[in-house]
Each structure stands twice: as C-alpha cells, then as structure tokens.
Amino acid sequence: MSGDEDGTRTGLAAFGSAAVTDGWTRERISLLVAIGLVAMAFAPSFQVYLFTEFLIIALFALGFNLLYGYTGLLSFGHGLFFAGGSYGVAIVLRDLGPVIADVVGSGIAPVVTFALAMVIAVMIVVVVAIPVGWLSVRLEEIYFALITLAFGMLGFSFILQNPGGITNGTDGILVLLGSVEIGGMDVRLGDRQLYYFLTLGIVASATYTIWRIVNSPFGAVCKAIRESPDRAAALGIDVTHHRWMTFILSALFVGIAGALMAGLASVASPYHAHWTNSATAVVATVIGGATFFAGPIVGAFIYLYVRWGISRFPALEAHWELFFGALLIAVVLYFKIGAVGGLLLLRERLFGAETSTDGGGETE
C-alpha cells in the first residue's frame, strides 16, 4: 500500500504479476495483507475497534522497542509519552477547537483541528522527551528502568493534580472528534471505519519509518550500543548522546500512538501515564520477541486478542493477566526469541525455509 504507488506503471505491473503468478512470493503476501487490512474495515463494529486498538498498541510497543530491543534500555515510563500524545490531542481539541473553527470556518474545522491536534501533541511529547531523555540516559540497566518509572509516575501525579484545571484530574478529558459535511453527507471523524483507516495509514507509515531507522547507520549504532556500550565508545561513538537521540525518537512514536488512542477511546485518561500502562509495552514486546522487528507487532496482537478471547469465557473472564504473567516468565526463561522467533522456527520445521536472514525484518 505504501511505497508501491510511487513506482512506475511497469513496477506496478511487475508487482501484480509477481503477486498472482509466482506462488508464495513476497508480493503475493503483501497483496493479501493489504486486502485483509481493507476487508477488516467491514468486520463487525467491535472487531474494527479491537483491531484499531491492536494497531495503536503495536505502534506503542514498536516505539518502546527502539529503546529496549535495539538499544538495550528498558523503560518502565513510556506511558508518560503515551499520555503526552493523548492529552495533547484532548487539550487542543477542547481549548483550541472553537478558535480554529472561527478561523477556518465551521465546515472543515474538525478535520483541521484534529490534524493540528496530532501535530501539536507529538510536538509536546518531543519537548517533554528532550529533557527527560537527557537526564534518563545518564543511567543504565535497573537504574534506567527506575528513573523512567519515576518520570512516568511524576507525569501521572501531574495529571491527577490538575494544575490550573488543564488535565481535569482523575476523570481525564473527553475527546470529541466532531463531524464534517461532505457532499451533503454528515461524516463523523470518530466513525469506526473512518478512524480505522486513519489509524492504519498513520501506523503503517510510522512502522515503515521505524523499519528504515533500525536498518540505517543510526540503527546499526543502536545495535552496537545494545551489544556492548563500552566497545562502541572505544570506536568513537558518543554512547550517551546516541541513547538520548534514540530516546527522543522512541518517545515520538509512542506519542503518536497515544494521540491515536485519545481519538479511539474518546478519552485522555490519567491511566495512560501510569506505570501499568508503560508495562503494556514491555509485556507485548517481550512476548512477541524483542530481537525481531515484528516482535512488538505480534506481541500486541497476542496481547489484545488473547485478552479478548479469554473474556469470551465467563469462567476465565478477567483472569487474562495470569496467562500473560506465565507467558512472560516462560519467554524470558526459555524462549528469548518470543512469538516471532517461534513462528520462524515453526516455518523452518514445516517448510525447511531459510529463516536466519530472510525477510529483512529481523534485527540480526
């Protein structure tokens, strides 16, 4: 869906023929995934909601993993940036919505407002991440986990204390996206299908960007720092500075996820900043496999769908944490490669396919 459109017509034709003729090519898989993603929009409303939430949590975990799986720093405070995104959107919509409507006229105001809210929200997150990251990367290992936890909870306390009424305390802020009139039809921005496509577009672009980052010279240096920080320094790499830059990038993507969540859940909640929300990214990433690019995506999928699946059985309802706790421990102890590693291993067993360097989606 993303990069193929700017190719020439021949490129498209080649893609098309590769997708339909040559067996299980990458083109065919991409095409099927694209069709699947579009078809998803016509699933029952709750399923669309769940899938949209999955995409958001996947981006949350992907952003988190830039720092954890790729650079070796475990943050227990990324909820801060998630909340930064969701509150950024909520506050702009609440306080600037009427002003913007005055400027651009009421017709397309909701669209302009939401776009602006997203941009401002991400800017807020970056502005917060710059000092928080600068201070946090001075520490390593457990101490880094603790200081990010403290920063996250500091943000949580700030939201609860509601200075000047800006965060609305424990209730959080209601997010109403409004609607626009297109050709006499009233289109709600918060419409499940429309919001799904919006989220899909943003998450897909963000994922592609993260993929570019981890495969860039910048990403190569991140991996070096993960493997051995003092070796990296002995090669002339300013480890602290590089970690700081990665921290900011990581926060930025998590902020986008938070901003999208505000629109989906119709609320910016203090819970977004709480350490238990930060832990969501940890659980999803570890279960999926932190050393694989797709790990956080698969982990987020398991996280949301297993939770949903368990909730279908009244006897087990609400006991999904037990499952994830056990899974988390099992993965860390016995199966560090996570679900993605497991899938690749399974494919190898079944088809004898090469797994080690295939797909370009792995970090190693």
Binding site: R212, P217, V221, K223, S228, R231, A233, A234, L235
Partner: protein, 255 residues
C-alpha cells in the same frame, strides 16, 4: 621519527594505593612497543588512563593530531578514539549478536560520522562498503563476513577485535593481550597479522602481552612497568637481558 602518543608524569591513585606512578613515555610512529610487567604492575590502569576510561590523578596524555600533539587528558573514551587512539580488549569485546561485516561497518560508521543518518540503509554507501571489504580482506575475515560473531571460534573473535580497532583508521593501536587464550596456531596468525599491518600501513602498536616469545618476536621496543613506574625501556635485547627485569619477574613469581 615523530611522536604519536605521549604521556607526561602520568599518575593514578586509588585512595592510598598508587597504581600508576609518574609514567612519562613517548611512542614513536610505526613502532611496535610492548609494555610488559608482572601482575599488578599497573598495565591495565595505564591503559585505562590512555583510553579515557579512568581520569588520571595528575599528568597528561597527548595524541598526534593534525597540527602537533593534542591534549586528551581526562577526555571520555569516545573522544580519545576520535582523536586517533584505537584499542582492542583482553577479554574479547565485540558486538556478539551482529555479523562480522556489521561489526566492521559500525566502526566505519563511527569514523565517518554518519551515525545520525537514520533514513538511508546502513549498507547503501558504496565507499563505505568498499572500505569495509578492504578491512575484511586485510584481516582475512572475508569468508566469514556474514557469520554472526557469537558463532565464531575464539581465534576468529580475536581477529574481529583487531578488525574493529583497525576500521576507525587510528594513529595508534593499543592491544591488550592480543593473543590471550589462543592456541599456538592462532597466536602465530595474530602475530603475523600485527606485523603485516605494521609493515603495510605503517600502523603504530602498543601491545601488552604475557607470552614472552611473542614479545621478543614482534617488539621494536619494550617498556617494563613495575609498581606503577617504568623499570626499563629499550630494545628487546637490552631489556630482556636487564637483571632488574628478571628480578622483578622472579620476585613476583613467588606471590
């Protein structure tokens, strides 16, 4: 001959203990200098002072720059590396999870300062790939370039260690026990690699080594450290026949 690395009255104290006690040394360009000494003589501390891992209590470290010697005393490790001092570790310290080629490429990325480029592909710069290929050829690692380092033998890992040090194109190589843990064949290979690099690209080496045969074999000059100070300094023949040196070694043997 020009000096590429110079220390002046370099001193490091940990509480009461004086680990390095006023060492003044000038390392000449294209020399292989071995630093030897009994355990606890202060070699490791001396290395850590040179590379910026530790800050000296007193004294200075200077490295050859574009115009004369540059003071790098107390600079952090990455700045010392940028200033032209490269090191290898006694306990192999490479990027285990990455392939040999990726290892060398990272060193090369660091050297040309493209580490903040986060959108192009890491392997897309042809000049860089050519350089990486050259270093792999020079160190004889081309055949295993795509192997993840955690699957290599000990000797191969030691060679990657040297390739990394080489890839940042330094003025001085600091090698901490390059043959540590190696079998005789591997040792011979590493020794000939060091000599080859010394001859082909006029690389300057400062080497610590336990194996006296290796020391005798490769050194242009030997410096003996004992109790944190320079005990002897000269050609291999001079130093290894020095009675004080024998004494320092024998004296430590009984401990």
């Amino acid at each position: 001959m020009t000096t590429v690395l110079e220390t002046e009255e370099l001193r490091k104290q940990f509480g009461e203990l004086v680990a390095v006690d006023g060492v003044s040394l000038a390392i000449d360009d294209a020399d292989i200098t071995s630093i030897i000494g009994p355990n606890g003589a202060g070699k490791t501390t001396f290395y850590n002072l040179l590379t910026g891992v530790l800050k000296p209590t007193a004294g200075t470290v200077r490295l050859k720059g574009d115009d004369g010697l540059v003071d790098v005393t107390g600079a952090p490790p990455h700045e010392v590396a940028k200033a032209g001092l490269s090191r290898s570790y006694q306990i192999t310290n490479i990027f285990e999870g990455l392939t040999v080629r990726e290892n060398v490429r990272i060193a090369r990325i660091s050297r040309d300062g493209s580490r903040m480029d986060f959108l192009s592909r890491a392997d897309s710069d042809p000049d860089m790939e050519a350089d990486v290929g050259e270093i792999l050829t020079l160190t004889g690692l081309t055949d295993i370039a795509e192997t993840p380092c955690d699957q290599l033998s000990h000797g191969q890992k030691r060679t990657v260690e040297i390739a990394l040090a080489l890839a940042i194109d330094p003025n001085v190589f600091l090698m901490d026990e390059p043959t540590a843990g190696m079998n005789p064949t591997e040792t011979t290979e590493i020794v000939s690699l060091i000599r080859e690099l010394n001859e082909e690209i006029d690389a300057t080496f400062v080497v610590t080594e336990h194996d006296m045969d290796v020391v005798r074999d490769i050194s242009d000059r030997i410096v003996v450290l004992a109790d944190g100070a320079v005990l002897a300094d000269g050609t291999p023949t001079e130093v290894l026949n020095d009675e004080r040196v024998t004494e320092a070694y024998l004296g430590s043997e009984g401990q």
